[in-house]
Homo-oligomer: 316 residues x 2
């Protein structure tokens, strides 16, 4: 299977300029001296998550003749917002297929970016999205299972390497594996001595199990839905799993309580509102020190979309 | 009176590299189309406030022969943390004089950065600081009333001009006026068509009153202490007031309720934890549209240090 290269990521970086924010590394003042920590705050991207990087790279690659026919995505989460936001930036029509249990606020937020929202029974999402693609000649923008999406997310790794060339450990959340595949590709090419470690909730630890088994191990949707980290309930595809096997050093897991308390820590100590999925890497830094290499560490804070009520609960 | 120049600010930018974070402009997705908004998130600086810029520039200017004798500051707020943090970065001893009513958590935070903390009755702060300077040959780092401090804060304006050259309105909190003086100097030099507007709480609106009167109007400490924006209770000096008269287009005021609700808006919509003082500019954007020029707007979010309990209260 062909893996993406760092050249693909360099090309993606050119394409997403002006759409994605070039986020800084934020040094933390509250860390152990032999393993200083920097945060990569992707929660500060326009729709509150790294997802716009991959969406922008994939959309920039659509041939001119196909652009007017628009894009389609199926997602109820950050990917939906990302595709809607980037499509408007690029002047493309977008249709987002969402399951009927999606909260109204999320549907309204997606519509506010100018996208058409198609509400369907949850089991019909892929079928309806594919039908829209066929009927309209639109382009499907998948959330992670595509080389252009992986390369777009990998631009985070380029920026880490540029800002902290002697980084020793990069912590990345893992769900479908697009973000981790992309970041690992960039870091292993540019900072070959750095370790790249994925982090997932222990209640959705299918990737850790898969890497241990050397093949993709399926966890049920029901099991993966138990974690509060609702952005980390997907599982790697063949494509992303091939990247992870080749380029990721390890995957560690964190508990629900560690995730919840770290949301509060990030708000009070780093002044960042992170969603639970975005907090897992800092949770690993704080609670899995024994399982991680020491040294200069970067934690990718992948997103910041959570309900105000949940934020208050986690802070109280 | 000599005002600082944009050349002073360019020189400051070179000096503070590696100490202050180069913060990005964050485009907001929830704004009116004819006046798009970007946030300048200075709450993400290492100690949670823009103050490290001025402190770093002032410390970098200390002659080599005087460095070992260290620095002194009097402050109970963000300036204390900033001087302590930067002094450690620069390898200089630091003594911070704080009033005896300072919360223990703030004293501990300052000590955690390696500074000596000298607790005194509130009326003795300046006297004790000056005595330490005289006894030790140390250098006083004032919070705003110094050209090097103003030039350091002005680097925020350089970054805004570089990232958004066609900016039309820059909103800046005003207290002692160092930040506003510096940013206005940079913006008026580099983006002469842009308006620079200060924002202060209506309960501490001495700067608005002073600009209207054409001379510094004193409000009592007691009156200025009423606002929740505890970083905006100081008043301009002769030096900063001279900059404001020359280079600031207007000062607008916001109410306590507007400040409080905007802290919640920034947390939920921009994923930033801002302290009340840091939220006033976004509050002005949201609630003083009629008093402001329309067009591309930048709001400086100056800091993010507030107690967890207050954050929960403002979010609830």
């Amino acid at each position: 299977m062909d893996l993406i290269t760092v050249e693909d990521i360099h090309a993606a970086a050119e394409r997403i300029k002006g759409t994605a924010v070039r986020t800084p590394l934020l040094p933390c003042t509250w860390t152990e001296t032999d393993r200083p920590l920097w945060l990569k705050p992707e929660n500060l991207q326009p729709i509150g998550a790294f997802k716009i990087r991959g969406a922008a790279n994939a959309m920039a690659r659509i041939p001119a003749a196909d652009r007017a026919r628009g894009v389609v995505a199926y997602s109820s989460g950050n990917h939906a917002q990302a595709v809607a936001y980037v499509a408007r930036q690029f002047g493309l029509p977008a249709a987002i297929v969402v399951p009927e249990n999606t909260p109204v606020t999320k549907i309204e937020a997606t519509r506010a970016h100018g996208a058409e929202v198609v509400v369907v029974p949850i089991t019909d999402r892929e079928i309806v999205a594919e039908r829209l693609v066929a009927e309209r000649g639109a382009t499907l923008i998948p959330p992670f299972d595509h080389p252009d999406v992986i390369a777009g997310q990998g631009t985070i790794g380029l920026e880490i390497a540029a800002d902290l060339p002697d980084v020793e450990l990069v912590l990345v959340p893992v769900s479908g594996g697009g973000l981790l595949s992309g970041v690992a590709t960039a870091i292993k090419a540019l900072c070959p001595d750095a370790a790249v470690v994925g982090v997932e909730p222990e209640l959705a630890a299918d990737t850790a199990a898969s890497l241990a088994a050397g093949r993709r191990v399926e966890w049920s949707t029901h099991d993966r839905a138990r974690t509060i980290a609702d952005g980390l309930r997907a599982a790697p595809s063949e494509l992303t799993f091939a990247h992870l096997r080749e380029r990721v050093d390890a995957v560690v897991t964190v508990t629900e309580e560690e995730i919840r308390s770290t949301v509060a820590t990030l708000a009070t100590r780093a002044r960042l509102v992170a969603e639970p999925s975005g907090a897992v890497t800092t949770a690993a830094y704080l609670h899995r020190a024994a399982d991680l290499p020491r040294g200069r560490t970067v934690a990718v804070v992948s997103g910041g979309n959570l309900d105000r009520d949940l934020l208050v609960t986690l802070l109280s």
